[in-house]
Amino acid sequence: MKLLYFAWLKTKTGVSEETVSPPSEVKTVAELLVWLKQRGPGYEDALADIDALRIAVNQEYADFTDPVAPGDEVALFPPVTGG
């Protein structure tokens, strides 16, 4: 599973892109976030406020209950501020 981090998610985790293999119990966005949070203090800080996060799975906006699978591209970012 490919993870992408943008804006302050990237700053806090210190990572812009990584490939991870979460355990097979991780089947939803919410479960992925719980698993990610335990990977270190940077992740814990970045994911502290779940409401401040937006998630895209395979470049589509996703809800916390949406499924994630090993081959997915999952992006984590704050609400967008372009335009």
Partner: protein, 149 residues
């Protein structure tokens, strides 16, 4: 048409190209977003616009398709820049052309309102205290919500 690019664009050239040769067009509406030197009362020197390559094009294409479905348009254009930008620089252009004035004006307004809350761009402002990620604004969510069907 959708373009995501680092380079600046020439507004006159882009707008002319949209209507040229099509005499069915009665109205051309456009909006250009520019880098302000002030944000929330704080002086801003420059900014860096980050984006999500791939998803950006996908979302902008979808927003444009939605406008084409809702209004009778002869042409539409979204150009969004990324990278380093200085105060006064152009960030984004949305433009729509239609036989009818209201269709052009409303769809242009719609495009920029939706883009603001859906296109994956993030502004990092240079301030005297260092780089600062810009917070999303509730007013943008409210503006986008006006266009809910």
């Amino acid at each position: 048409m959708i373009r995501v690019q680092r380079e600046d664009f020439d507004l006159g050239t882009e707008l002319r190209a949209l209507t040229e040769g099509n005499h069915a067009i009665g109205g051309l509406a456009s909006f250009v977003g520019l880098v302000r030197d002030m944000a929330g009362g704080e002086k801003v020197g420059a900014m860096t616009l980050e984006h999500y390559p791939g998803m950006t094009e996908k979302m902008l294409g979808r927003i444009e398709a939605e406008a084409l479905e809702r209004w009778q348009l002869d042409a539409s254009l979204i150009i969004h820049r990324y990278g380093h930008l200085e105060p006064g620089d152009q960030i984004v252009l949305v433009a729509t052309a239609s036989p009818h004035r209201q269709a052009a004006l409303e769809s242009c307004h719609f495009l920029i309102d939706w883009l603001k809350t859906k296109a994956p761009f993030w502004k990092l402002e240079d301030t005297p205290d260092g780089g600062k990620w810009v917070d999303a604004r509730d007013s943008d969510d409210e503006a986008a919500a006006r266009w809910a069907k």
